[in-house]
Subunit: 348 residues, 4 copies
């Protein structure tokens, strides 16, 4: 089997993963409308490619909050990487470092933050945080991440409760006994109810700010109103995300929501996006509409499933090649030449 595009990895994962794991990774909330819209929405955006511009010297590097990465695609936070590959998040970290990009490590990792850090020393990593009812758990995680050299703190804002993913309910999804949520084992043991705190508000950004010097990035913003609030509360970045369509079904595709968020933010902080990225040209569309970088969730898991860190590198390399080709064919030699003029929304 030749792996030519990301769909090839998806097909592989669907074929070889245990059904319960595949279903968990693939799941969207309710009817999966938002999950599917994330992808379909890209098809309604058309390029306006420019010709006869010198694209002989391509440079697709960009910077995330000042740190250079090899191209504008990072790894979104997703849980339970050991479901995909035995080494779990350690493999993810190695692949991200090898490809010189950013990996957002999930609270729900099956390796400890120390293990992940040790697997790929010096790699660019951000830590994704859910705020726990027991604030001490969160505080400790944040401070541990900072101590381990993580360079950003990503607060997930769209999960006061977990979305309803029908297949997970049907399957009675749970981790196999030999896997653990190693960073929050204790937290789960003391809570009979969900350990996550549904009372979190914007003011908790100030609390987080008091715990750490790391830049704070908020993930899960879909409206201009929340984008404005995020900026006013001092975050350094916003990830436009609907949690891969796993939370509120019926929300907008992230590429559609990006437009209003970017317009509201007016370059005051960096704006990123996750959801629905399947081709290099999707990355170009997101950057044309104002994203500084995008993050991939499921495709990273498919890559891991295929061949661990090698497989994830394959996925990233394909995206990198496709992105380089796409921006060249659109007439840009580097990311600074990308802009709103490159795309138009289909009248259909």
């Amino acid at each position: 089997m030749t792996m030519v595009c990301l769909s090839d990895f998806e097909a592989y994962a669907k074929k070889y993963l245990p059904k319960m794991a595949w279903d968990f990774f693939a799941a969207g909330a309710d009817d999966c409308s938002t999950r599917d819209e994330n992808i379909l929405a890209y098809k309604r955006i058309h390029f306006r490619p420019r010709m006869l511009r010198d694209v002989s010297m391509m440079d697709i590097r960009t910077k995330l909050l000042g740190t250079e990465i090899s191209f504008p695609v990072g790894i979104a936070p997703t849980g339970f990487h050991q479901l995909a590959w035995p080494d779990g998040e350690k493999s993810t970290a190695r692949a991200a470092k090898a490809m010189n990009t950013c990996y957002i490590v999930s609270t729900y990792s099956t390796c400890t933050l120390e293990e992940i850090s040790a697997a790929a020393p010096g790699g660019l990593r951000w830590f994704q945080l859910y705020i726990h009812r027991n604030r001490a758990v969160s505080q400790q995680l944040v401070q541990q991440a900072e101590a381990l050299g993580f360079q950003g703190l990503v607060l997930t804002a769209d999960l006061p409760y977990t979305g309803k993913r029908r297949d997970d309910v049907r399957n009675g999804f749970r981790l196999p006994p030999h896997m653990k949520l190693k960073n929050i084992e204790d937290a789960f043991e003391v809570c009979k109810i969900s350990p996550l705190d549904p009372s979190v508000t914007w003011n908790d950004i100030y609390w987080l700010r008091s715990l750490t010097h790391l830049p704070i990035i908020i993930k899960g913003i879909l409206t201009k109103e929340d984008a404005e609030l995020a900026v006013r509360h001092g975050v350094q970045g916003i990830i436009v995300s609907n949690h891969g369509g796993r939370q509120l079904d019926g929300g907008p595709a992230t590429i559609d929501a990006l437009v209003e968020v970017v317009e509201a933010v007016q370059d005051r902080v960096e704006v990123y996006l996750d959801g629905g990225i399947r081709k290099g040209s999707d990355v170009l569309k997101a950057l044309s509409l104002g994203a500084k970088c995008v993050f991939i969730g499921r495709p990273a898991l498919w890559g891991l499933t295929y061949k661990g860190e090698e497989g994830l590198q394959d996925v990233l390399r394909i995206l990198q090649d496709e992105f380089r080709l796409s921006i060249a064919l659109a007439g840009c030699a580097n990311v600074s030449e990308i802009g709103r003029h490159l795309v138009q929304f289909s009248k259909l």
Copy 2:
């Protein structure tokens, strides 16, 4: 079989109901365009969910004309519940009471109003009325309902004649011999033609008003012009409904019609909706667009078919859980926080 969402109950009912009964419940008029649009239209409405709002204390209760119900979903009037479950409307009444919501009892019930009342004393019930050519029949039913403690009178306005439901014609649909329209048996026997009066006009609202102290709710309104007339004729509530797509095929989806009705009514009376509700997030969409409450028709019948009153409670409980989760994920802790800002119509 795990019952996870309303579609599971639909699949069950389709599999286990006799074809004639399934066809009758499922039927739409002509090509069933409006029946199907009722559902499809929700997919064109997107949420604008808000983040980081304290949703730790959820309260999804609401009031119908001043009476509290546990969440904004009631049982729409549908006929012939014995086709779904032996105890028929008695089971429906028990389930509605157990879930503390409103049940609109149809004129075409297979149990008498007394039986229904006795099955679930103290439950919140409204009585749905067709006006008969023989006005004495209608008068008697209205007064009986009032005497039995029904708290509202729902006048169905969209059935001067019965819509053309092709499968019912093909099947030669009729009730099995052991079932009776117990509240209007005599009425049917004296009429060779349809006992319903196609000459009813707005002035008949005044006649109804003269018969009863109950609040009058009109069901079947789809335009701003009729909404205005309804308010002017003194109704207490309006149910935006197209009779489940069973009357005039080609009419609007109720969620689309809701917008113009709400705009015309300007809060002078309560506005409700039925048609196409299949998920908790559909309820949230309807409330965001101004409905005070929605009513479910076919899903209630599927629940009855599955396990009588228990099955119907399952259906209501699933909707309740989904609604609670949806409004929390949209950033609201109670129904008063829901508003027009939460939704946008898809440009597609």
Copy 3:
């Protein structure tokens, strides 16, 4: 088999007609886009039905150029009725008379005008004309029609050449040897090329006017510009038609074109429509948008195929019943109450 709606007759005809005849009747030009659009376009028009209007006394009669018909549906001109039923156009004439509506007899009939007239004396008939290169042929037909009591002359404007219907080319379509175009046999024999004159222009309306006292109706108009020209050249009626999608593929659906034609005509002449009528509610949509009457083509042929004049009466009766029900459910008791306010174009 119960015949409940027009699709039932279509299924019957598809099953029992010889393939060459079915293909000929069903054919559209090229990709059949316009043929199919004629039907799909109705689905994009939604009713705004009005409630609680007295619809106890329904009257669905209308008038065509002053002559009363039982409901606003006539028989469009189509050729070769003997392909559908041995008695051919004689059966059509009998059915139209029995149902008290108008039958537009095609130049391409397989019975003579005399035979057709004799089959149903006193029936309301219009004669459809193609202008021949040999003008004497056309003159003779017009004058024969007038002498036989035909009450209108329908000039088909959209066939300077015959559209490309792929299946007819593949099948090598031609009439079976025992069928003849009885009204123009000689015309065909003297012409090696098509006997129809592609040089016809608006001035030929004046020539037709000089031949006959019959009202002239022009068929095939799709634009406001041509509608204006038709009125200025003194026609009495306009049939908005794209020849059932058999001529220029890619033209508009007739129900869409109707809007601009009606707006241009401003009630100066009557406007009719053919194409895509499959349900009584389609008739109501066309009348709501300004058509005085519609005509059915293929459904009439399906009715003939089913049971000759009886079958065609079945088709007409079903449409009549559906139309009566539709306008009642929309809140109208007669055709004069129908208007533009009853419909809206879907935003989709």
Copy 4:
């Protein structure tokens, strides 16, 4: 098998070509969205046909930069014609000459320019050029083409790098050993990397101008900005093209891009189009929107596959007949009567 329309040739080619060749000809970039949009976009354009105009004397000739061709359809540049038919581009040249139209010979031909010229002396041919890193190669080809009587030079602007065509990657596409790119064999041998120069800019138009007296036509323009630049740099013609959807997936359909290019150009140079032409009425749509002529790519290859030059003539003759019929049915007797008023974009 009767060949009635272009799809028949497509079906033939799909059936009889080796998979690798079929895949290569059929390939689009990535998801093939743009390739497919090229065709779908025509379906969103509707005609506004005019009636009763004298179309007895049809004349569908047009001129390309002053040279008459028999109808406004030429042969777009495509490579490797020997994959379709043993005589390769020699057959193409003979068919184009026989049908009196223009053939744009690709740099990637499997016959030499001399062989092609000798096969059909006096035929109207343009030469399609890619600019090579080794400019001497390009210079020699241009001057050879001019010496051989080619009448135009077509610079392809949209291939600084080759698009990602997944099936070609999977198939490991390459020419069979007995076929050669005869005009640039040496060029390929000296380059390990692609011999095409991705540093080409608008200034290279001036370089080309210095090499030849031939008119220069630029191919691959999709925006008004680039159309303006093309005119300012002195080209004589613009071909609106997305390379058959083989380069940047996600670009606009060419028929959609044509509108803005024509508006920008304001008749200063001739504008042509390729992509998605499958019927005579597609040609009429393109001309109505301002194209002077269209070019066919894949359909020409299907014709060659079917029967070499005869098969290609069949394809051209079908298009010619369909185009003649279409413009007659739209009410035009020659191409000068075609205009923007003949079409409207579907509201859908």
